[in-house]
Symmetry: C2
Subunit: 138 residues, 2 copies
């Protein structure tokens, strides 16, 4: 199922490829990773990918996030479903979470009048593979 093409943006080969990559991936990717996945024959330049992602973000097609333990921005297709991730501190794998702690929670902010628009939750720890290696190592 294809996402609707964002209004006002020209449909070009590069942009379609970027969107394809994100559509196939269920975990967020960095701009350079997207670049690499397209790679090969019709190489695409990082600057173009960054500009494309910037446009896509403005149009709500993708979300830009930065997860713990890395300062590289990653992008995911906006699937219009509420989602959070667990990040492996060892291999940096990003695994989707199935539930959200904010469903039944009202944040209390130390600044009267702060208008809460959204939230971002990240869980960190060790993924199955890495947790396993660690315990073997004993």
């Amino acid at each position: 199922m294809k996402s609707a093409w964002p209004e006002g943006l020209k449909k070009t080969k590069t942009r379609e490829r970027v969107l394809d990559v994100l559509e196939q991936e269920k975990c967020p990717l960095s701009a350079l990773e997207i670049c690499a996945r397209i790679g090969g024959e019709g190489a695409v330049w990082p600057s173009t990918v960054y500009r494309t992602l910037e446009q896509f973000e403005k149009n709500g097609v993708v979300n830009r996030l930065t997860v713990m333990g890395s300062d590289t921005a990653v992008y995911e297709l906006n699937r219009f479903c509420h989602k959070h991730y667990a990040v492996c501190m060892s291999c940096h794998k990003i695994v989707p979470m199935e539930n959200c702690p904010m469903e039944a929670f009202t944040p209390r902010v130390q600044d009267d009048g702060f208008q809460v628009v959204g939230h971002n939750v990240e869980v960190y720890g060790y993924c199955a593979g890495c947790a396993c290696n660690k315990s073997e190592g004993k």
Copy 2:
């Protein structure tokens, strides 16, 4: 109240100043901001601040975090109390939250065997000042 000096680290003027700055501040600062606050007379070099913060982090004296909407790492003194922040999307102010949604919540991760070690919650929106300006603007 001073934090205990981390074991194994030499006590130098620079490190004490970095710690002072963090002790006085209740919101996280970037390495360069810390640098600037020390500034003036006995200037300190960014590389040194980064190295200092790295050591402090390893020793659990500070926490390094990256909040939404900025890819610059910020550091806060580890006050050993569980804390989360609200980030203003307009002025990037960081305001502490008073409660935590994870207290009564068990994350369900789509990877059997993922060992959860900790979490990171961020709320975003508009701080009192910015929310106010926005509505005046109408």
